[in-house]
């Protein structure tokens, strides 16, 4: 499968990655080779197969809607690159 510049730019947006020109070139090659390789799966007829996300039948795990964890704000903020007034600080998002 040929990967175009547009595709790489689009996937870069989805992946939130900013690739250098050199990285883009490499990514095009890698992704194209990998997609060719995984297309091997098309040899299999899966028309009547149900997609399996988990091998074990999991049920939804419910609990009462009661807060059990305390105020962990201080701990949560400990690793924040920037914080202000007990909140995460991010660059301006709108004017």
């Amino acid at each position: 499968m040929i990967i175009t510049d547009e595709t790489i730019d689009y996937v870069g947006i989805l992946a939130k990655l900013e690739l250098s020109d050199e990285e883009k070139l490499q990514a095009k090659k890698d992704m194209s080779e990998m997609l060719d390789y995984v297309s091997k799966l098309n040899e299999l007829d899966t028309e009547n197969v149900t997609a399996m996300s988990h091998t074990f039948p999991y049920n939804n795990v419910f609990r009462e809607d009661v807060v059990t964890n305390g105020d962990d704000r201080e701990n949560l903020l400990k690793n924040a690159p920037e914080q202000k007034d007990g909140c995460y600080k991010v660059p301006k998002t709108f004017d």
Partner: protein
């Protein structure tokens, strides 16, 4: 007089040397019998790391101070009769993708190179409750993405059997630290073979438990439908002992399964009479190194001579596991790794224009090449227009792979084969060609896709003297069956140490 003192000193040193050569269970027994103290056991490991880890680079972080503090506390509890289990006082290392409160947990990535968790992973807590002493955090492929431990931000780990070769990955630091006798045992994690393959490359033993057996709370996620935590140690007994300690239902992990059969050490029985072992004929094809093939067949003969019924059969689906795995794992990785954006934790780029630019730059500067490659692939296969063709297709193939195993387990108790098609490769040999590296996971990834338990243990050595691993796979939640089979096989073999380790003198 001076001579006697000198001799005494040497004997003391020799004792220390011996400690690092012991298994976890032996150390635990000697501590219980007051033959050695917890401090002595922990110090022996810390000293070994200080002396030898410059060469191997198994550790990202060594917590000397914390380990010595834990040792004193554990010794007190042992003396007071509060801690009586087999792991009380035993030093252990943790792969650097499991959180430990107050200790750098980097996932061997630049993006988490300053991340100090404020809580501890459930599996690590369970070990602490059992009295194990956490020595430090081991090196790994960045975010567990790789099979060689070469993609680490902290430099590659070297194989103690031959430092020009890789230790395998992604739990390469854990496996190499055990082989190098820096610690008797370690925790690893296994998404596509990351416990079993490095255990195999380093001549030690590792178990990937059934999906759901061990809580992943506090494990930094890679492929959530595949990840499991498990032990790496010198023998099956240690692995079963550690697995027993860390297996428990945990409501904090919604995929945790409530089981009552976590008493794995009861399966340490040297008896395989009547056990049905299947060798997938389709594993022994062209790509497999002939020395590994011979070693696995020889192991089959050994088990047969002990009364097991060994047969060859066609498992099927073998060549479809890797493509399905890389679609599913990359898709899940692209989603799981979205959280690293320079806001809540980890690396933030220094210069940016706006929020979006900050996200992109932080991630692009913080992630390494292999991680970016998988995030890109994962984002693509999940994108609109390709989701059904790739991601859903892979999930359907996963169902077919599970069916193939289900059919096999109707006839067999254990499916046995190699761990990897080669022994440890030369450093740098697989980095240039990702697909070639991925192909090395052919025997391990199907086990993760099907959620099954697998054990890897040494079964021989190739002509270069590198260890060859044997893999035994059981049906879901049948860890005990593979532990028993592996234990029985292990009784026919001596544990072999790497030359560099056995040559360590006083």
């Amino acid at each position: 007089m001076a001579a006697i003192r000198c001799l005494r000193h040497l004997t003391r040193e020799a004792d220390k040397m011996n400690i690092t050569g012991m298994t976890a269970a032996e150390i635990g027994r000697k501590i219980k019998a007051k033959e050695i103290s917890v401090i002595e056991a922990v110090t022996a490991c810390l000293d070994a790391i200080e002396q030898y880890d410059k060469e191997y680079n198994c550790f990202v972080t060594v917590d000397r101070e914390g380990a010595l503090k834990q040792a004193i506390e554990v010794q007190k509890k042992i003396d007071a009769g509060e801690l009586t289990g087999p792991l009380a006082g035993v030093p252990i290392a943790i792969k650097d993708n499991m959180c430990q409160e107050g200790i750098l947990t980097s996932c061997s990535s630049k993006i988490l190179s300053d991340f100090v968790p404020t809580y501890t992973a459930e599996a690590v807590l369970k070990l602490m409750e059992a009295g194990a002493v956490i020595i430090g955090k081991t090196n790994m492929d960045e975010f567990a993405m790789g099979s060689t431990t070469e993609t680490s931000y902290y430099g590659e780990t070297k194989n103690p059997w031959d430092i020009t070769k890789v230790p395998g990955g992604s739990s390469g630091g854990s496996a190499a630290a055990v082989a190098a006798e820096e610690v008797p045992c370690a925790l690893g994690s296994d998404t596509g073979g990351s416990i079993r393959q490095p255990a195999s490359f380093c001549g030690v033993t590792g178990i990937k438990p059934t999906y759901g057996r061990v809580s992943r709370y506090g494990l930094i996620a890679y492929g959530s439908s595949l990840d499991q935590i498990g032990p790496i140690a010198k023998d099956v007994t240690d692995c079963a002992t550690i697995l027993e300690a860390i297996s428990q239902y945990d409501k904090k992990d919604s995929t945790s399964v409530n089981r009552t059969d976590n008493d794995f050490t009861t399966a340490l029985v040297d008896d395989v009479k009547g056990m049905k072992i299947g060798l997938p004929r389709d594993y022994f094809t062209e790509g497999l190194d002939s020395e590994i093939k011979d070693a696995v067949y020889k192991a089959a003969e050994v088990l047969k001579s002990k009364g097991a019924i060994v047969e060859e059969f066609d498992l099927g689906m073998v060549e479809y596991a890797i493509p399905a795995y890389y679609i599913i794992a990359s898709a899940e990785a692209s989603s799981n790794l979205e959280r690293f954006d320079g806001v809540k934790y980890g690396y933030r780029t220094e210069q940016y224009t706006d929020l979006h630019n900050m996200y992109k730059k932080s991630r692009s500067e913080g992630f390494g090449a292999e991680v970016k490659r998988r995030i890109m692939l994962g984002s693509f296969v999940l994108s609109s227009g390709y989701y059904d063709a790739y991601y859903v297709k892979a999930l359907k193939v996963k169902a077919l792979i599970k069916q193939a195993y289900d059919k096999a387990f109707e006839k067999y108790d254990v499916i046995m084969g190699p761990v990897a098609p080669t022994t440890a490769l030369d450093m740098g040999a697989s980095l240039s060609d990702p697909i070639k590296m991925y192909l090395g996971d052919v025997y391990t990834v199907p086990v993760n896709l099907a959620g099954l338990p697998g054990i890897s243990l040494p079964c021989g050595y190739d002509s270069d003297g590198m260890p060859i691993g044997l893999q035994m796979v059981g049906d879901a939640f049948h860890e005990k069956t593979i532990i028993r089979a592996a234990y029985a096989f292990e009784q026919t073999k001596e544990y072999k140490r790497p030359a560099g380790v056995s040559e360590r003198g006083l």
